[in-house]
């Protein structure tokens, strides 16, 4: 019998972060909760074989991002009834709506790369593993995504 108490503790601790990451990628709260629930369900189905919070965290983020990708491409195929994408005028970067609108203009891979690296804080190497892509590819997505967001949000670049 898998360690249910351990899973429940992990679920409680990490669910909000996974839901938020999915919401920043999907830009839809209900969908992000669905995706997070499915990702944790898959994690539970493997719980006996997964050891350590890092492994579990990586697994659940990887699964969630894959599910986000699937949702988005399915939504793209479902033209009928799709909620039209809002336009994304440049706006006050302190306005949360402007950030959401700016994110909406990014291609999915760029959005995922930026959210995982700059919001979730994963190293680029880990982002690449989560997205099943090469690190060099993720760096390109990151650079393009950040540049597009800066342009829209007029974020002042900070010297690193």
């Amino acid at each position: 019998m898998a360690d249910r108490a351990g899973f429940e503790a992990f679920y409680a601790a990490h669910l909000p972060r996974v839901v938020r990451a999915c919401a920043l990628v999907l830009l839809d709260r209900a969908e992000s909760e669905d995706v997070a629930a499915e990702a944790f369900a898959r994690l539970w189905s493997h719980w006996g074989r997964i050891h350590g919070e890092d492994h579990a965290g990586g697994y659940v983020f990887t699964t969630a991002m894959r599910l986000c990708s699937k949702r988005r491409r399915r939504a793209a195929r479902e033209v009928v009834g799709a909620v039209p994408e809002r336009g994304a005028p440049a706006g006050d970067p302190t306005d949360r709506g402007a950030v959401i609108d700016a994110l909406r203009t990014l291609p999915l891979r760029q959005r995922q790369s930026v959210v995982l690296r700059d919001w979730a804080g994963f190293p680029t190497q880990e982002v690449a593993r989560i997205l099943g892509a090469k690190e060099s590819t993720v760096r390109v997505h990151l650079a393009r995504g950040r540049a597009a967001l800066r342009e829209r949000l007029t974020v002042e670049e900070r010297e690193g």
Binding site: A37, T62, W119, P123, L149
Partner: protein, 395 residues
């Protein structure tokens, strides 16, 4: 981490603020998560079996629960009204309580006696002559509200049209909107998609889905949940199963339960892609020419050729051992036949094979798909649906 791998802090703070819009307490779905996870684990460990609904009793339209005046659509489909044609081989559907149901008469001789049209708006369906709906007639959609949606199932007497259609595999349930075929639509009216429903080699009816240009996304979601609830007794179901193809690799695929799927065991091909998983349809064509891919369950002596026949075969190979594998792209958003990296034809073009290459998690894979185009001319979306469902995950 390299020194260039720096988090963009200002951007991170902006994203933080955007994320703050999402309240801290997502809905409590732990019980659902545990249930679904346990189900997945059980599905991995046991042979897939799906209980099929058994219909009994007299022919009747059966509103098994009373219509509700409540205009709110319950979240749980089990709380919706059930409508059915209760022959031994009948259909059933879950209907949002506030929505209108119109009974459609099936043609004499059809396997089911009635069809149904369900809509979120009040609308009187007519046949082209202005009378009430009749068998075989398309519904007249002129004047249909722009925010309306409709799901229609009309039984048909498929056997009355011998030779008109090539045999098709049984329709797999649940239906999904992307599995339906598009029509040219109705100018200024609702967009229409449809799918012929096949069972035991016969065309038994057609499902049509209409979406008005101003339909709300919540109504479209309810429509598609209703579409997914459509059931015909004896129809195969979609099943999702994860295959452990090595100690560190798991491939998840969603396929019709009537299709076979199995990992290859201990096949390592030196300097060439090693097959790791095969998925194949049952054979419904005339068998004169079939895909010639090697699948794990084929008996080498050919003694059970009929049982082992298939019309479509999909083989996933791990190309990491191949000599000089080319630079491959990440998995595509969608497998499109025109994007194949290689293609072959056999039997005068009646069997076509396409090969796709992709890299996932730094590992190269090849996916070869061979299909009898005669059998799948009517249902190409089924094949695409299976391909798009394939996920390779490291454990």
């Amino acid at each position: 981490m390299s020194d260039t791998d720096v988090r963009d802090e200002p951007l991170g703070r902006l994203l933080d603020r955007a994320a703050e819009r999402i309240e801290d307490a997502p809905g409590d779905r732990l019980a659902e998560v545990l249930r679904r996870g346990s189900r997945r684990r059980a599905a991995r460990l046991t042979a897939t079996g799906t209980a099929l609904a058994v219909f009994a009793g007299a022919v009747a339209v059966a509103g098994l629960s009373l219509p509700s005046e409540d205009a709110v659509i319950p979240t749980d489909v089990d709380d919706w009204r059930t409508f059915a044609s209760l022959e031994d081989n009948g259909w059933t559907i879950q209907v949002p309580p506030p929505w209108d149901v119109t009974e459609l008469p099936a043609c004499r001789g059809a396997e089911q006696r009635i069809g149904v049209a369900v809509t979120n708006v009040s609308f009187e369906f007519r046949d082209p002559q202005g009378g009430p709906p009749d068998c075989y007639d398309r519904l007249v959609m002129a004047g249909f509200p722009r925010d309306g949606v409709v799901l229609e199932f009309l039984p048909i007497v498929g056997d009355s049209l011998p030779g008109l259609f090539l045999d098709q595999p049984d329709t797999v349930l649940p239906l999904a909107p992307e599995l339906l075929k598009r029509t040219g639509g109705i100018r200024g009216g609702p967009r229409e998609t449809f799918l012929g429903i096949w069972r035991d080699g016969s065309w038994i009816g057609t499902v049509r889905r209409y979406v008005g240009p101003d339909a709300t996304s919540s109504d479209v979601r309810a429509l598609d949940r209703m579409l997914a609830s459509f059931s015909v007794s004896g129809a195969p179901r979609w099943v999702t199963r994860a295959f452990d193809v090595s100690g560190s690799l798991e491939v998840t695929v969603t396929r019709p339960e009537s299709w076979r799927a199995a990992p290859y065991r201990q096949i390592v091909v030196i300097d060439a892609p090693s097959p790791i998983l095969a998925i194949a349809s049952p054979g419904v064509g005339d068998g004169s020419c079939r895909p010639s891919l090697f699948v794990p369950w084929i008996r080498m002596d050919g003694a059970s050729a009929q049982r082992d026949a298939f019309d479509v075969a999909i083989v996933l190979s791990d190309a990491s051992g191949a000599w000089g594998p080319p630079e491959l792209p990440p998995p595509p958003d969608r497998f499109r036949f025109q994007d194949a990296t290689a293609q072959r034809e056999a039997c005068g073009g009646r069997v076509r094979s396409r090969t796709f290459g992709f890299e996932d998690g730094g590992r190269p894979f090849l996916l070869e798909v061979a299909a009898s185009v005669e059998v799948f001319r009517e249902q190409p979306e089924v094949l695409r649906y299976i391909l798009d469902s394939i996920e390779v995950n490291g454990i």
